[in-house]
C-alpha cells in the first residue's frame, strides 16, 4: 500500500483551478474522476498552495474557500494562509 492521502472535491467549475493547482504542485498526484466528484490520491503528502490557485484563477483566493467544494479527505491537516497540507506521518 502506498499510504495515500486523498482529497475529494465536487466536480464543478469552482473546483477546477484547485484541481489544476494540485496536479501542478504534486507530481505524484493521481486524479480519479467519478460522477459529480473528483478524488485525488497522493502518496503520503499533498499540498494546495494559495499562490498556484491564484495563478489559475487570475485573482485572489482564500484557502478556506475550499470548504465550499470539499467532499472528503484523508490525512493530518496543516493549514495556514498560504498552504493547505495533508500528510501521513509514517
Amino acid at each position: 500500500m502506498a499510504d495515500n492521502v486523498f482529497i475529494a472535491l465536487q466536480n464543478n467549475p469552482d473546483a477546477q483551478p484547485i484541481i489544476q493547482a494540485i496536479v501542478e504542485d504534486n507530481p505524484a498526484a493521481v486524479v480519479n474522476d467519478s460522477p459529480g466528484m473528483v478524488k485525488i490520491d497522493c502518496p503520503k503528502r499533498l499540498v494546495i498552495r494559495r499562490e498556484t490557485v491564484e495563478e489559475k484563477i487570475g485573482g485572489e483566493f482564500n484557502l478556506q474557500d475550499i470548504h465550499l467544494t470539499l467532499i472528503s479527505l484523508a490525512g493530518n491537516i496543516e493549514e495556514d494562509d498560504d498552504e493547505f497540507v495533508l500528510q501521513w506521518n509514517i
Partner: protein, 508 residues
C-alpha cells in the same frame, strides 16, 4: 503606496475567537460547571493543546454555510420546478432514497442533539466551539434532506409519516440504536464514536461512492444535499482525528480506553454500513462501484494508512477488521436476501435483480456469488413466476447489539449462520457476531436494557401480537410495502416512461 489595513492571520484569529472568548469560572468550580468530562477516565492535562487544523472561526463559519445553502437551495428549487424526478434512472432507485430518509436523516437530528450536548459539555473552548459548529451542521443536514425528500414525497410511496415510522418501524432500530448507544455514553466516547469511528473511518463509504452513484442515477437532489453535507463532514472527520490524537497525547493512560472504544465503534459502524453497501449494490440501477471495491479503497487502503499513522501512539487497527474484510464478498448479498424476505413489513419495495445485474454481481463477487446467492435469486424468481412471491411469515430474531436480523454467517463459512449467546441475570441474549458479543459482554447492564422491536411486537406492546396488528399500529398500508414489480411506484413509473416514449424496464 497606502498601507493595507492590518489583517489578522488565520492562527491569530482562531486564537482570539476561541481561547480569547473563554474564561475560568470563579463563582462555581470548573468541575461543577463541566461535570461530565472526567468520569470516563480520560485524563486531560492541558485543554489549550486542542487544535482545529482548519482554524475555523464563527464569522467564517456563517459566511461559508450561507454560501453552501444558497447553492443547495438553488439546485433543489430547479430540481422541483423541472420535474427532475423524471430523470432518475429507474424507480427502484427511489428505495435507496427512502432508506436514507427513514434511516439516515433521523441520525442527522440525533447528531445535532449529541453535539449540542458536547458543545456544552467539554471544558476546553476549542473543543466546545468545534462541537457547536457541528451541532448546527447536523441540524442543517436534517433540514436540507427533509426539504429534498418533500419533493419525492409528492410522487413516491415510503416518504410519508417519517416521524412515526422513525419511532415505530422495527427495522429502523438498526440506525436508531447506533446513535442512542452513542449519546447515552460519556462525552469522550460519544465524540470518538461519531466523529472518529463513524465519520472519519466509515462515512466515506456512504458519502463518496453512494452519492456519486446518486449523481450517476440522475438524482441531483440527493447528490447536492449529499455533497453539501459532506463538505461539513470533512470538518467533522478532522475533528474526529484531532480528538483521538489529543486524548492520546494528553496522557498515556488514555490509550486502553480509546482502543476499546475504537474496537467497539468500528464494529458497530461497520455493521450499520452493511445497509449502505446494500443500497449501493442493489438499489443503484446504474453502478459506480461495488461494495467490495469501495471497502478495498476506503478501508483496506485509506483505513490502513490512517492506522499506520496512528501506530506511533500505540494504537492498533480495530479488532475484527479482518472479519469485516472477509465479509466483503457476502455482506450485501446476505442483507438483500433478508430485506427481500421481509419487505412486506417495511415501507420499502424489494425485487430480484435483473439478469444483467446478476451478471455484474458475478463479475464483482466471483464464485461465491454464483454458488450461493445467484441460486437463491433464481429460486425466488421461479416462485414469483408461479405467483408465490416469497415472504417470511414472522419477524426475525435480531442481534441484541446492532439490532440487525441474525443473518450473518461465520467468518470462515458463508454457509453457516452465526448466532452467539450471552447469558446475563438469567436471560439469554443473542448476538450476530463475536464483535457484537464482545460489546455486550463489556457492558451487559447497558445492553440488557436494549429495546428490541420484534420482542416488543410479539409481547403485544405494539398494537397487538400479530404482524397485521403491528402494521396497522405503524400505519403502513400494504400498497407501500413488499414487491417492487407491480407496485404503485412501478406502475406510476411505467406510465411516465410510456408518456415520454422510452421503454420501461421489464422484470427479471
Amino acid at each position: 503606496m497606502a498601507a493595507k489595513p492590518r489583517r489578522l492571520n488565520l492562527t491569530q484569529k482562531y486564537q482570539l475567537m476561541t481561547r480569547g472568548l473563554d474564561w475560568e469560572t470563579t463563582y462555581q468550580s470548573m468541575d461543577d460547571v463541566f461535570p461530565y468530562d472526567k468520569y470516563e477516565g480520560i485524563k486531560i492535562k492541558d485543554w489549550d493543546k486542542w487544535q482545529d487544523p482548519f482554524r475555523l472561526t464563527m464569522d467564517a463559519y456563517w459566511k461559508y454555510q450561507a454560501e453552501k445553502e444558497r447553492k443547495l437551495y438553488a439546485i433543489l428549487d430547479g430540481f422541483a420546478q423541472n420535474n427532475s424526478q423524471l430523470n432518475i434512472s429507474d424507480a427502484r432507485y427511489m428505495n435507496a432514497v427512502k432508506i436514507w430518509m427513514q434511516g439516515v436523516t433521523p441520525l442527522e437530528y440525533a447528531a445535532f442533539r449529541g453535539f449540542a450536548m458536547l458543545g456544552r459539555g467539554f471544558r476546553g473552548a476549542g473543543a466546545r466551539v468545534a462541537c457547536q459548529f457541528q451541532s448546527i451542521d447536523e441540524m442543517r443536514h436534517y433540514q436540507t434532506q427533509m426539504h429534498a425528500f418533500s419533493h419525492y414525497n409528492k410522487y413516491f410511496n415510503g416518504f410519508r409519516q417519517f416521524a412515526r415510522i422513525r419511532d415505530r418501524a422495527w427495522y429502523l432500530s438498526i440506525p436508531k440504536s447506533y446513535f442512542e448507544d452513542a449519546v447515552t455514553a460519556g462525552p469522550f466516547e460519544l465524540i470518538t464514536a461519531i466523529s472518529f469511528s463513524f465519520e472519519y473511518v466509515l462515512t466515506n463509504l456512504l458519502f463518496m461512492p453512494f452519492v456519486s452513484g446518486a449523481a450517476y442515477n440522475g438524482d441531483m437532489a440527493t447528490t447536492t444535499f449529499g455533497f453539501s453535507a459532506q463538505s461539513d463532514e470533512s470538518r467533522h472527520m478532522t475533528l474526529g482525528l484531532e480528538v483521538i490524537k489529543f486524548m492520546l497525547e494528553q496522557d498515556e493512560g488514555n490509550l486502553p480506553i480509546v482502543q476499546q472504544w475504537l474496537d467497539k465503534w468500528f464494529w458497530r459502524g461497520y455493521r450499520l454500513l452493511g445497509l449502505v453497501g446494500t443500497m449501493m449494490d442493489y438499489m443503484l440501477p446504474k453502478k459506480v462501484m461495488s461494495w467490495r471495491q469501495a471497502w478495498e479503497i476506503y478501508w483496506e487502503e485509506s483505513g490502513m494508512a490512517l492506522f499506520n499513522d496512528l501506530a506511533r501512539y500505540g494504537l492498533r487497527p480495530p479488532k475484527y477488521h479482518e472479519v469485516a474484510t472477509k465479509e466483503k464478498y457476502r455482506i450485501t448479498h446476505e442483507f438483500w436476501c433478508t430485506i427481500y424476505q421481509f419487505s412486506h413489513a417495511t415501507a420499502l419495495y424489494t425485487w430480484i435483480p435483473t439478469e444483467e445485474e446478476l451478471d455484474w454481481f458475478s463479475a464483482e463477487y466471483g464464485e461465491l456469488f454464483d454458488t450461493v446467492y445467484r441460486p437463491r435469486y433464481e429460486y425466488w424468481a421461479e416462485l414469483d413466476r408461479k405467483g408465490e412471491r416469497f415472504f417470511q411469515k414472522r419477524l426475525p430474531v435480531v442481534c441484541n447489539v446492532c439490532q440487525i436480523p441474525i443473518f450473518h454467517t461465520m467468518p470462515d463459512d458463508p454457509l453457516m449462520n452465526c448466532c452467539l449467546v450471552s447469558e446475563y441475570k438469567g436471560t439469554k441474549h443473542q448476538m450476530c457476531s463475536q464483535g457484537c458479543k464482545d460489546i455486550f459482554d463489556h457492558e451487559p447492564e447497558k445492553y440488557c436494557q436494549a429495546y428490541i422491536p420484534p420482542q416488543q411486537i410479539y409481547q403485544g406492546n405494539c398494537g397487538g401480537a400479530t404482524l397485521e396488528a403491528y402494521k396497522e399500529w405503524l400505519h403502513i398500508k400494504d400498497e407501500e410495502t413488499g414487491e417492487y414489480y407491480g407496485s404503485e411506484d412501478h406502475i406510476m413509473w411505467e406510465g411516465w416512461k410510456a408518456q415520454s416514449g422510452k421503454p420501461a424496464d421489464a422484470p427479471a
